[in-house]
């Protein structure tokens, strides 16, 4: 599923950010790295762009680009968990050297 298909008010987890490099990089730098939970907060009155809630911050992107972001729904059981910074990244856990 893509971020553009997410239902309003629903939580999803980012799987992969696609699209052109500048967009992908900027979106990830704003905290939408794979593993992050995102809520679709709303849709602009004219149907585009959409508003996302990521890490307590409201961001807006267009539907065309939201289609490049692959997401999975967060299972209902985990919906009650505090939506904040619990991120699962497949990379080795980093540490300060």
């Amino acid at each position: 599923m893509t971020l553009a298909e997410a239902k309003r008010g629903k939580l999803v987890t980012i799987e992969r950010v696609g699209g052109e490099r500048a967009f992908r990089r900027r979106l990830m730098e704003l905290g939408l790295v794979p593993g992050t939970r995102v809520e679709l907060k709303g849709v602009a009155p004219l149907g585009d762009p959409i508003e996302l809630l990521v890490r307590g911050c409201s961001l807006s992107i267009r539907r065309a680009e939201a289609r490049e972001v692959a997401v999975v729904s967060v299972e209902p059981a985990r919906m009650g968990a505090p939506e904040s910074a619990r991120v699962e990244v497949e990379l080795d856990a980093p540490s300060v050297t």
Binding site: G35, L59, P82
Partner: protein
């Protein structure tokens, strides 16, 4: 911690011989960075530009307790140091003292306590670069009952962190003390992050290709290599990147194959920040109270129905303020300068010097100051809209419409302001980040029906379409006025579509818009920004407008005609004077130019007198009315145009047919709608683009458009049997 010796520690951290220290202020957008900058520098900030680029550079000074003074520079807001454009590139070069920027003695990074993790992403990059750093944990008041722990942040990055609230001044004394301490006793950076092995190898390959001038200690070189890997690609627009470094980055990216280097870098950094979040927050506060209030407000202000009603209401208020409420102040300035000119005319001995002073200098200063009411009001509104967080919502609400035209959502307010006057509207394009967006907006805004066109339309409609009714009931004058507005909007949108696809094409940039929480604007910051803008206008565009007024005056006054004889009776003298002025104007260079242009203007239905009016209208479009008054030797001021209207209706061609027909009037109005008859517009475009080419292009394209359209109207109308 890091075991590598800091090779250049003694060199880079030693006190410079100059006593003037250099402090850079960086931070995400909407974190109160500018308010903090204002607090630190007091009333002595100046606005300038970074060399070679139209990005504003705010510079102030901070007096330290020891009597030392530090220069403080406010960098443009940024979420990350990674860059694609020369505008974004300023940050890294200024931080490291590359590309001619002075090396900072200290970097103050302002973070929003309410959106900490995202803000710390930038802090992490700065800490990796080992720049001397101090963190202001700002907006601490918004973070709720369980604010982030400043000492945990300080420990995490190995740099001091001071909680502040720039709006109220909380924590400022402590911050200033910390700045003073760090400027005399720098704390060497010690932060580094452990990246995945493959990425480390890539980074080190890039670091090897750094030129000597970019190198410092090993850790900084590695961080700079990561910056280069994130920023450089096949089609970035970065400047001053050595070819070897660029090649190496492209090679490394190519060799990475299916690996996503960007993702590895960014995900590692976020994983680090997320894994330490629990230490920074004493308890989980996913939604600070301020954000909850913002969300409630957005439910109304972004609502499909109420949201648009509120939007229209707010925009109408801005428009009405510019369009009609600025009018008394504008009128007052015009009256004052008119009185000043009369005074100088009455009390100074006649001659070139007096006329230069009266019509050139006094008139010119008046031409500049007359823009101030609208500029001040527009920037007051822009300041309030920006600082409250609503401007981002304007872009959000209007994006769909504006994008279809190739414009940025934020272009809406400048476009709307264009109905009042193009000059403040062009200055307002500063609210857009990208040069391409600003440029496109600047190039189309002058097509909007500004208020200076109205006196021209009013005169022509009143003279040529009096009391006419279309279909027996619709007043032609009113319909025509509405039609001119609709025509200008249509042409503006068309021009945006065409120019956005040709002259200022630019790359398609996906929208990523932050909707910051609503905040009560701080009036002193808004007023300060407003006066800074006005001052920049007076200094940089005002001088050009003044010079142009004097040139225009000279064009219409030389060669000089003999003074009218003083012995004639008063009644005759008045008549004689107005006809003498008409004669003088006809014989002036401007008059001759009008006659030279006549063959070119004839196909549009204009004669040389209208040509002279068009030249005079360069000072400001409404001056067309008074210039035409002088050309026709009609006495009377701008207030009552009845004599001029009668004269226009009485004017005949050599063959006896009336000079002005409704078709001529229409052709003339179309010309005024499209031509760039405004030197002030050209002066501010020159100021904002820092080039002569763009104002010249603007003038050329609008004049061509106007000529072709008027030609089509006049010749088409004649073919159809009108006129």
């Amino acid at each position: 911690m890091n075991s590598e010796p800091d090779r250049e520690l003694s060199q880079s951290d030693a006190l410079p011989t100059s006593s003037r220290r250099h402090l850079l202020v960086v931070g995400n957008p909407n974190v109160g960075k500018t308010t903090l900058f204002n607090r630190l520098t007091g009333q002595n900030a100046r606005v300038g530009n970074y060399p070679g680029i139209t990005v504003e550079r705010r510079l102030g000074s901070l007096e330290l307790s020891g009597g030392e003074v530090a220069d403080v520079v406010d960098l443009p807001g940024a979420y990350s140091l990674a860059a694609r454009s020369p505008e974004e590139q300023i940050a890294i070069f200024a931080l490291l003292g590359l590309g001619g920027h002075p090396k900072p003695d200290l970097v103050l990074v302002v973070v929003d306590a309410g959106q900490l993790i995202r803000n710390l992403y930038l802090v992490l990059q700065l800490a990796e670069l080992r720049v001397p750093l101090v963190i202001a944990l700002n907006m601490i008041d918004e973070a709720g009952d369980a604010p982030p722990d400043a000492s945990a942040i300080a420990e995490l990055f190995g740099v001091p962190c001071v909680p502040t609230n720039a709006k109220s001044g909380l924590g400022l004394a402590a911050l200033e003390a910390e700045i003073g301490r760090l400027l005399t006793q720098p704390v060497p950076g010690r932060f580094s992050l452990d990246y995945p092995e493959a990425l480390k190898r890539d980074r080190d390959r890039v670091a090897e290709a750094l030129p000597t001038s970019f190198r410092s200690n090993v850790e900084r070189d590695r961080a700079l290599a990561l910056w280069a890997l994130s920023s450089i690609d096949g089609d970035d627009e970065l400047e001053g990147i050595p070819a070897e470094l660029r090649e190496r980055c492209l090679d490394v990216q190519r060799d990475a194959g299916a690996r996503d280097i960007d993702r590895e870098i960014i995900a590692t950094r976020y994983a680090f920040l997320d894994s330490h979040a629990a230490r920074i927050y004493s308890q989980a506060t996913p939604h600070p109270p301020k954000r909850a209030a913002s969300a409630r407000l957005d439910r109304f202000l972004l609502h499909p129905v109420f949201g648009f009603v509120a939007f229209v209401g707010i925009m109408l208020l801005v428009f009405l303020t510019l369009f009609s409420w600025a009018e008394p102040a504008i009128h007052g300035i015009e009256l004052a300068f008119g009185a000043l000119a009369d005074l100088s005319r009455a009390h100074l001995p006649g001659g070139v010097a007096r006329d230069l002073l009266t019509e050139g200098v006094i008139g010119g200063v008046g031409n500049v100051l007359v823009f101030l009411p609208q500029i001040l009001l527009l920037f007051l509104f822009i300041g309030l809209l920006e600082d409250s967080g609503y401007m981002a919502r304007v872009a959000y609400l209007m994006d769909r419409v504006m994008r279809a035209l190739g414009l940025h959502g934020r272009a809406f307010v400048p476009m709307l302001s264009g109905f009042a006057c193009a000059v403040p509207a062009i200055l307002a394009t500063r609210t857009m980040e990208r040069r391409r967006d600003r440029l496109l907006t600047m190039l189309v805004v002058p097509l909007m029906t500004c208020s200076a066109r109205l006196p021209v339309y009013t005169l022509l409609i009143a003279a040529l379409f009096p009391e006419r009714k279309l279909f027996g009931w619709l007043p032609a004058g009113g319909a025509l006025m509405v039609g001119m507005y609709a025509f200008s909007v249509l042409m503006t949108l068309l021009a945006a579509l065409v120019l956005g696809r040709t002259v200022v094409k630019g790359r398609h940039v996906p929208l990523i818009l932050e909707l910051p929480p609503y905040r009560v604007p701080k009036l002193s910051s808004v007023l300060r920004m407003m006066f800074e803008r006005a001052w920049v206008f007076l200094k940089e565009a005002g001088t050009v407008i003044l010079a142009c007024t004097i040139v225009l005056w000279a064009l219409l006054s030389f060669p000089r005609a003999p003074e009218p004889s003083a012995s004639a009776p008063a009644q005759a003298a008045a008549v004689e004077e107005s006809s003498a002025r008409a004669l003088a104007l006809e014989r002036s260079y401007g008059g001759r130019l009008g006659k030279t242009l006549e063959p070119a203007l004839a196909p549009l239905g204009f004669d040389w007198k209208i040509g002279v009016g068009l030249i005079g209208a360069f000072a400001a479009r409404e001056v067309f009315v008074s210039t035409l008054g002088v050309v026709y030797g009609v006495a009377g001021g701008d207030e009552d145009t009845t004599p001029l209207r009668q004269r226009i209706n009485a004017e005949v061609r050599p063959d006896g047919r009336p000079r002005y027909t409704p078709l001529t009037g229409l052709s003339l109005m179309v010309f005024f709608a499209l031509a760039c008859q405004c030197m002030s517009t050209l002066a501010v475009v020159r100021r904002e683009t820092k080039s002569l080419g763009w104002p010249l292009f603007l003038f050329a394209y609008m004049t061509t458009l106007a000529y072709v359209a008027s030609l089509a109207v006049y010749q088409g109308g004649r073919l159809l049997g009108f006129g």
